[in-house]
Amino acid sequence: MTTPMIMGTETEYGISVKNARDQDPVAASTLVVNAYKDRELKGVTWDYDQESPLMDARGFMSEGESDTPDRENNSLINDILINGGRYYVDHAHPEYCTPECTNPRDLVIYEKAGELILDLSRLAAEELLPNNQEIIIYKNNTDYKGHSYGSHENYLMSRTVPFQDIVDGLTPFLVTRQIIAGSGKLGAENGSEETDYQISQRADFFETEIGLSTMVARPIINTRDEPHADEKLFRRLHVIVGDSNMSELAIYLKVGITCLTLQLIEKGILGERFKLSTPVTDIKKVSRDLLCKTKLILEDGRRRTSIEIQREYLGLARDHLSDASTSPIMSDVMDKWEFVLNRLEADPMSLNGVLDWVTKKKLIDAYIQRHGLKSSDPRVRMLDLQYHDIRPDKGLYARLLKNGRVKQFVNREEVVHAITNPPVDTRAYFRGTCLKRFPNEIHSASWNSMIFCLNGSSLDKILMDRPHFGTREIVGNLLSNRCAEEVVKEISANSS
């Protein structure tokens, strides 16, 4: 069986309140998330029973405690969205998770819908603040002072793939993927080698090859084994090494080429053929290699540039994953992957308007030149940060988009539609549609559960252990024609 392609991203946003006497990011994040809440859905909570964040993919349970909030706090920090996604306070950041998507193009649409949701929340939350205060939200990954916040990707995989195959096949890919998916930043952090500008926002924060942690000593391969699905059939690969992207094309490629690589791993094609001698050093080296010409040393002694390694992955994808069953989108991903690699090889700066790290670099260089500044000048540092500002009038990426200077790839109408409508081809359809249709009958939900409270007392839990079920095709009729009680009855009868 080929594993159905299912993916999603989680974005933690940076937040600051201008002119506030004290910065309290937890309070600000809570304010923002709550300001967006649908009045009808205020009581719906997150079902933490389905979570197991300490389970390690290497086959053991890590020690530690995972906190479950009480019901009041639960509904305060969680918002389950009618588009099937989740919006919540994670530590001291507002976080948006896309609903489950079946292809990278939908993923771009739902991730971009998240940016609009954050902006709508920001506007609503500002109404509750004193007039002189402004909420500023950044879709980036660092405060440039050694504190990083994440952008995570999730991919459904078959449980039969040995985890070591994932480690071996994916590590060299992720170390080099940043030349396409990096968001760029000024300077170095976390004790890494000094540099004026580097390709990735996150590379400096990766200290080990493999591990469970996401907050300290971050690993290139994360071992969290929390499938949010039938654990006998599936695993959910949790990728924590990427940057948040503003560029639509960068999101599309980042997720698309990772899907292709995971399919190669599932087919058992990669093995150890690209194994790097020093991946943790290399990830920082690649991030500082703005010409993409530095050779990395493979464990078998071969020397390859990041572009050459990516090209070999692409070649294998073309050889093994192009057949009649290849979807038009995935073959488009291969074409665009090749195009970008060709351009990187000829001159990375020719991808201005396509990739984030290049677009921002060009902007910074031009600004420095105009005003005769050093890259350490606060105005230049401000420019770096403000590229990621989600406000349409103040964000520099948003201004570039408005002026047609960055590549638009999905339609604005599709993104707006995705704020309030779930994808139709995953279980997110069931989740989002139930929330819309039966707001008063839903008690709580999670990625793989919906809990109904039908007569004010007893709870009925529906498990959704197959992410590719619960689609419009399967439950569309049921959800549009029946009441909540009949829906629960029918689904329970079918699953027992």
């Binding site: 530590h91 308007g353 940060l385």
Partner: protein, 66 residues
Amino acid sequence: MRSEQQEKEQRDNKPQDIEDIQPDAELAEQGEELSEDLDQILDEIDEILEEDSEEFVENYIQRGGQ
């Protein structure tokens, strides 16, 4: 070399609404645009860049996340 037929098939197989990147033409064009209205975008940046940049970037401190 690809035949026209193959190219056509490939085009037809792609979703209509995914805009193809026309590598050379489009990027060359983008390069020209850049030199033409670089001034305009830099003017805009001067206008909208947060005031008190120094204080702002100094005070932008986040708690580490995931």
